[in-house]
C-alpha cells in the first residue's frame, strides 16, 4: 500500500528509530548514501555501517528531552552497540507553539514581537530578517536611513557576540569546564546590559522594525560599547588560555563529530558548521546586505569539520564581530533612525499631544497596521547559527498571508546523526553542543 493511501486511511506513521533488525539494508544505506550523494551500492562499499540483521546486539535508548546537555528539549534516539553510536534520530517539537500560525494573525507592526522569540539567543537577527523582508515587499529597502542601517549592523554584531559567548558557556558546561560556563554567562550579561540600555529589554527586544529601528541610541552609548570591547577582548584571551590550548579540552573536541563539506552542503547546514568544513560561506560577504561590503572583516573557516573547529570558529567570530563593531563605531552616521514614510512610521509621541490627525494616524497604524503590497519574498541573512531566512507571502492586507522562517537550527539539527555515527555516547554531548541548536527556533 502506498504512503498516500495509508495516510488517507487514517494510519499515520509515527516517528521513531526502528531497530536495525527490522530495517532493510537499503533503508540503512539510504541514510548514508543520500548525504554523501551516492547510490546505496557505493555507500555499501564504504563499509562502516554493519548491516548484518543477525547482529542484534544493539540497543535503542532515549537521550532527552530532559537531559541537561540537550539545550532545551531536544530528544535523541540513539542506537548503541556497546558505547558506540550506530545511528541517531533527533526528535523535536516539544517547544512547538505554532509561531508561524500566530504570525498570520499579527500585523506587520506586531510581527516582530513574535519573530524575536524564535531564536531567543539572537533575537535581533530574527527581527532584522523579518524587517528586511517586509521592507522588500514595501519597496523601501533602499530608503532606510543610514543611521538605522548602521545601528542594525551594530546590534546584529553585538548580538552575534552575545550568542557566541553563550555558546562558549554551554559548550564548556557540557564538557565539564564549569568555570567556562560562569565566564561565558558573565560576559554575555555585559552585552545584554547594553541591549537593555538601548532597547529596554535584555532579550526579545522588538527593536529592529520595518522602516528602521524603534529608538535612537541613548546618550553615552559609544562609551558603553568601547567599555564592552575593552572588557571582552582580554577575556577572550583568557578563554584561549583556559580552553583552546588545554590538552584535555582538545582531546574532548578534536576529531569528534566530523562532517565533510559534501555532507554539510547536502544537509543544508550553514553557519559555523559549514565553515568548519572549510567552505568559506558567510552571507555577510557572499550575498551582502546592509552595509557589510563597506566593512573589513574575515570569514573564519576550519579545516577538519570537527567539534574543535566549530568551537574555534565561534571564538574567532567574536573577535571578528568586535573588529566590525569598532569600524561601526568610527563610521556611525548621524540622522534619522527610522524612515520618514507616513505609511509605516507612526508619528512622534510629542506630535500626538498637539495634533488630532497625528493621534488618529498613530491609532490607525497601531490598531490596523499598514498594508503591504501583494507578492512573496525570501530574504536571508547570516545569524550566529547560520542562514536565517524569512519567506513572506502578502495578499495586500495588513497581516501576512503566510510567514515562514527558515530556522538555521532546524536544519542544522539534521547533521547530528551524521556527526555521531560511529562515535561514543560520551561524545554525543560534545557533538550536540558544537551544533549549538536553539530549540526555540527548531520548534517555532
Amino acid at each position: 500500500m502506498s504512503i498516500v493511501e495509508t495516510i488517507r486511511d487514517g494510519n499515520e506513521p509515527a516517528q521513531g528509530l526502528k531497530p536495525r533488525s527490522e530495517l532493510t539494508a537499503r533503508e540503512l544505506l539510504r541514510e548514508v548514501g543520500s548525504v554523501l550523494r551516492m547510490s546505496e551500492t557505493d555507500a555499501a562499499k564504504l563499509g562502516g555501517v554493519p548491516v548484518d540483521p543477525s547482529e542484534d546486539q544493539t540497543m535503542i535508548i532515549n537521550m532527552g528531552p530532559q537531559h541537561p546537555s540537550t539545550h532545551g528539549v531536544l530528544r535523541l534516539m540513539l542506537e548503541l552497540q556497546g558505547e558506540t553510536v550506530l545511528r541517531c534520530k533527533p526528535i523535536i517539537g516539544y517547544l512547538h507553539t505554532g509561531m508561524e500560525k500566530t504570525g498570520e494573525a499579527l500585523t506587520y507592526m506586531q510581527g516582530g514581537t513574535n519573530l524575536t522569540r524564535m531564536d531567543y539567543v539572537s533575537p535581533l537577527n530574527n527581527e532584522l530578517v523579518f524587517s528586511m523582508a517586509v521592507e522588500k515587499l514595501l519597496g523601501i529597502e533602499h530608503d532606510i536611513p543610514e543611521r538605522a542601517v548602521w545601528m542594525r549592523m551594530l546590534l546584529s554584531e553585538l548580538n552575534r557576540m552575545s550568542s557566541h559567548l553563550l555558546f562558549m558557556a554551554t559548550n564548556g558546561m557540557d564538557l565539564g569546564a564549569v568555570s567556562m560556563m560562569i565566564y561565558g554567562w558573565r560576559e554575555r550579561e555585559e552585552v545584554l546590559r547594553f541591549f537593555q540600555k538601548v532597547t529596554g529589554l535584555r532579550m526579545n527586544h522588538n527593536f529592529i522594525r520595518p522602516g528602521g529601528v524603534a529608538a535612537d541610541l541613548p546618550g553615552g552609548w559609544r562609551d558603553d560599547v568601547l567599555g564592552l570591547l575593552e572588557l571582552i577582548e582580554p577575556r577572550l584571551d583568557e578563554y584561549d588560555t583556559l580552553m583552546t590550548g588545554q590538552p584535555l579540552w582538545r582531546d574532548r573536541l578534536q576529531g569528534v563529530g566530523v562532517i565533510t563539506a559534501t555532507e554539510a552542503i547536502a544537509l543544508g547546514a550553514t553557519g559555523p558548521i559549514l565553515r568548519g568544513t572549510g567552505v568559506p560561506w558567510d552571507l555577510r560577504r557572499d550575498q551582502p546586505y546592509l552595509c557589510y561590503p563597506e566593512l573589513d572583516f574575515d570569514v573564519i573557516v576550519g579545516s577538519y569539520g570537527d567539534a574543535f573547529d566549530r568551537y574555534a570558529i565561534r571564538l574567532n567570530e567574536v573577535r571578528e564581530s568586535m573588529k566590525l563593531v569598532r569600524q561601526i563605531l568610527d563610521r556611525m552616521p548621524a540622522g534619522d533612525f527610522r524612515i520618514q514614510n507616513k505609511k509605516v512610521t507612526p508619528p512622534p509621541r510629542a506630535r500626538i499631544d498637539e495634533s488630532m490627525e497625528a493621534l488618529i494616524h498613530h491609532f490607525k497604524i497601531f490598531t490596523e497596521g499598514f498594508k503591504v503590497p501583494e507578492g512573496e519574498v525570501y530574504v536571508a541573512i547570516e545569524s550566529p547559527r547560520g542562514e536565517i531566512g524569512c519567506y513572506i507571502v502578502s495578499d495586500g492586507s495588513p497581516t501576512p498571508y503566510r510567514i515562514h522562517v527558515r530556522a538555521p537550527s532546524f536544519v542544522n539539527v539534521q547533521c547530528l546523526p551524521h556527526m555521531m555515527r560511529g562515535g561514543l555516547v560520551a561524545d554525543a554531548v560534545a557533538v550536540i553542543s558544537s551544533v549549538d541548536p536553539v530549540l526555540g527556533e527548531v520548534d517555532r
Binding site: P13, G93, E100, K136, H404, Q414
Partner: protein, 169 residues
Amino acid sequence: MSDQPEAQQSAPDPVTLHGCPLVVSYGQPVVFAPRDRYAAVMKALLADGYEMCADLTAVDYLLIPDRALPGEIAAERFEVVVNLLSLRDRKRLRVRVQVPESDPSLPTLFDQHPGSEAMEREVYDMFGIVFTDHPDLSRILMPEDWEGHPLRKDYEIGSIPVQFKQARA
C-alpha cells in the same frame, strides 16, 4: 522613487528554465515547475549547481484561488516552495510547485537533498502534503496523535478544542 519593485510575479515573462516559466519577483528569480516534472526539474537544477536546498515550505492558497500564474501553470490550492542555493555562483532560485487538494502529494527530494528531510516532514505535518518515498514521513512538530494540519487556512484558530484522539472532552 527609483527602487519600486519592478517586476511583479503577475507580469508574464517569456523566459524559461528547463522548460518551466521563470519570473522575477522583487528581484528574485522564481521557477514555476509543473508537478509531473518536479522531480526531473529538481535533478536538473542540482546538476546546474544549485547544490543546497536552503528551505522547503508550503503555502495554502485556499483564500486566493484565482491568482495569476505564468505560462500554462494552473493555480491549485497548495503550493510547495523550495529555495535553492548555489554556493559556487552565489545565486538563489525559488521553485514553486502547485499541489492540488484532491491529491496532495509530491515526490521527495531526499535522494537529491537529504537536508530537505525535516522540512518535508514539517510541510507534511503542517499542510498534510505527502512526500512519496520519504524515508520517515511522520509528524515532526505536532504530537503524533494530533488531528488536522494546523497551517491550512481552514484550520480554525481562536479556540482550543481537545484534539487528542484518546481524550474525552
